[in-house]
Amino acid sequence: MNIKVLKNVLAANDQVASRNREQLAAKKITAINFISAPGAGKTSLLEKTIPALKQFRLGVLEGDIATTRDGDRIAKLGVPVVQLLTGGACHLEAPLVQRGLCELNLDALDLVLIENVGNIACPAEFDLGENAKVGILSVTEGHDKPGKYPLLFHEVSALVLNKVDLLPYTNFDYDEFLRDFRKLNANAPVFQVSCRTGQGIGEWAHWLEHVAEGEIHVHPHTHTSVEGIQPHSHPHKH
């Protein structure tokens, strides 16, 4: 006998992601999923971004395979942080994020920043319930990355190009990078920043501020339709 199934293999993850999304929307919280390769500067970007967003009540979910080093770095900034350890998995999945959200006091937050595990392939496959994905690419990784990891670059709502202070010392071709990126993603803004010098952080933080306030519309790019959930507008909570 034959059983017709026709279901997304990741349906179980996506259901939990939908619940996360509903829970966050009910609390009027914007959640951003930060994805990059190891060493591109996810934690450094959060360290620079968090002080620039003082008007928001922030929480951080810090995804890693092992160790609480990144979580410890974020905790020094005085924001609530939950370290999520995947115990080997190269990406975050929605149930782990759900547990992380339970440990945060969601009534006291406007914005949750989720730092995924360092990897630009698998994290793009798993919806966590975020409002938007933000990709971080560092110039030392090379300008050819969009075409090599198309799913991530297709799905991000913004791309942060980090370590631009090193541009003169690398063969990173910005024009070629942008040409390739635009073929995959017509609209996402690209922010050239250096977490080391602070260059470009203001402009990037300004964008995130507008997203958190619902003034810039972002789309989570889930692979399955999420019925009944609309992107929420975000009245200011102080």
Binding site: M1, N2, I3, K4, V5, L6, K7, N8, V9, L10, A11, A12, N13, A89, H91, E93, A121, C122, A124, E125, F126, G147, Y149, P150, L151, H154, R182, K183, L184, N185, A186, N187, H223
Partner: protein, 110 residues
């Protein structure tokens, strides 16, 4: 491996009502934009089902090419090196029609 675990859980749920049957074929389809390598999926699947009731079942993987439609001139085109840029009018941001699938299609039970 996470994908295989999700797939096995889905198979367990779908076959719950047929405890006397054995799964002979598992059919999945993967869109070209998903970063799931068929050989790797098969390798992980084979490793994961060893010593379980699914041990001898066959995993059939259908690969679907990615197709997009230009939002300006409506041309439908295969998503290749130029990705979502229309090959005719060069408009960026074409709409993806097919290529994002990662689906369990059907199961054969004997």
């Amino acid at each position: 491996m996470s994908i295989v675990e999700a797939l096995l859980e889905q198979i367990r749920q779908e076959t719950r009502d047929y405890p006397a049957k054995r799964v002979s074929i598992v059919r999945v389809r993967i869109g070209a934009l998903r970063q799931v390598v068929p050989e790797t999926l098969t390798f992980c699947f084979t490793a994961a089902v060893r010593g379980t009731p699914l041990e001898n079942c066959r995993l059939d993987i259908e690969q679907l090419p990615a197709t997009a439609r230009c939002r300006k001139c409506s041309l439908m085109f295969p998503v290749t090196e130029s990705w979502f840029e229309c090959p005719s009018c060069h408009e960026a941001g074409a709409e993806l029609l097919q290529g994002n699938e990662l689906e369990l299609m059907s199961l054969d039970l004997t």
